[in-house]
Symmetry: C2
Subunit: 238 residues, 2 copies
């Protein structure tokens, strides 16, 4: 039954009702969209009020992790076991059209659903904190100073199992209703990319240090989604 | 009392508890972060389950608007008066450090809180739908075909008043604890920009059409946040 293993179950929560041809439930696609990002937005509820908080995250298997100050309200509340929805979006293009209705955006997104928990075991927490660094910058956790006991205590690591998730992809060119191609409105697709600028080395860099191999992908002009996905494969293996 | 007019009230909901030196409650800063974006993430709750949905949005005064299919679950539920949190984030840099704890990201973000409502009045709705196009592409609503009655009906326009909101900005270079500058780990700041690629004109462009002045800012290599903010000023005036 490869489908049950390789895909998320489709339930009321993650089923795409609109534009269902854009839906993706296979883990390969969902994971690829997640692993191409550092920033996610997490929805959660405190006293009936929804919050949408941007934060850095990463994936290990079917778990997603993020962290925060142990004093943070978000982290304290989530760690107590809140249901969460963690969403990642990549905007790939703006697509004009000859009527408002056919204007669109190309994108890749994932909504992942689960229940947040706090990582309590110190050994597991330390390993995961190293994984957070190494997943983006392969090998870096071995190059930097390890956390002090105060830093370790001041940081809460929160995780969730992806109980279910759905990906959504739109990747289309300009499309108009047949009769609208006679409307004299200039129409185009505008690609959108998030890229790296030229790195700015620390002014207090120790003399003689070389830029490590683990940062090689982070070069000026590189697409950040591709760099993150490549770093992920480098750290975890294909 | 310029403060009461020019700033959002600080309440339990929008007060920054951590890193409060990064907080911004003045409308000029909050609006600038919002007007530099097309994509937001909206948190809302259906049957106790939080959802975080990415969507296009825009601002008019202290209102935020977005839209969706009238058949969409999100839009139908929100339109009935759900509390929402609309969040916008710009990632500006990845900042390495000599320990995990001082690794960071530079960003500008806004969390805006309010209650969603459906725009019912047809004249207001049509004006706002034109505004949605023109806010991003000044003058474009006059160049394209107007919505058909079916399109108009199939689209639900949802709005919220920003009851309160908070901005958050981190814009710092590499920073390490003084004793860590001796750690032999290469350290740098990596700027991140979302930019436009070369526009791809529609293959069925009518002959003799020129690219309109309203799209002038959308040129290859331009920073999308700056283009959106410039288009906003062009449409609404400074």
């Amino acid at each position: 039954m490869p489908d049950a293993v390789d895909s998320f179950p489709v339930t009321e929560r993650n089923k795409l009702r609109r534009k269902h041809e854009r839906g993706r439930y296979d883990k390969a696609t969902v994971y690829d969209i997640l692993d191409s990002a550092m920033l996610c937005h997490i929805a959660y509820v405190i006293d009936g009020q929804p919050y949408c908080t941007p934060t850095a995250f990463w994936r290990e298997g079917d778990h997603l992790y993020w962290h925060g100050s142990s004093a943070s309200r978000m982290v304290r509340q989530q760690a107590a076991g809140l249901p969460v929805c963690l969403t990642v979006s990549h905007m790939d293009a703006i697509v004009l059209a000859r009527c408002g209705f056919n204007h669109s955006v190309n994108y890749r997104s994932v909504m992942a659903f689960g229940t947040a928990f706090k990582v309590e075991d110190p050994a597991e927490k330390l390993k995961l904190m190293d994984g957070f660094i190494d997943r983006f910058f392969p090998g870096r956790s071995k190059e930097i100073r390890q956390p002090t006991p105060q830093e370790f205590k001041a940081t809460t690591l929160v995780g969730m199992v992806m109980e279910n998730a759905s990906g959504k992809i739109r990747s289309l060119g300009v499309h108009d209703d047949e009769e609208d191609y006679q409307v004299p409105a200039w129409t185009e697709l505008m690609p959108v990319h998030t890229v790296l600028g030229a790195p700015v080395p620390c002014e207090r860099q120790l003399p003689g240090l070389a830029r490590p191999e683990g940062l090689a992908g982070y070069r000026e002009g590189a697409r950040l989604d591709e760099v993150f996905a490549e770093a992920y494969r480098k750290h975890y293996g294909e």
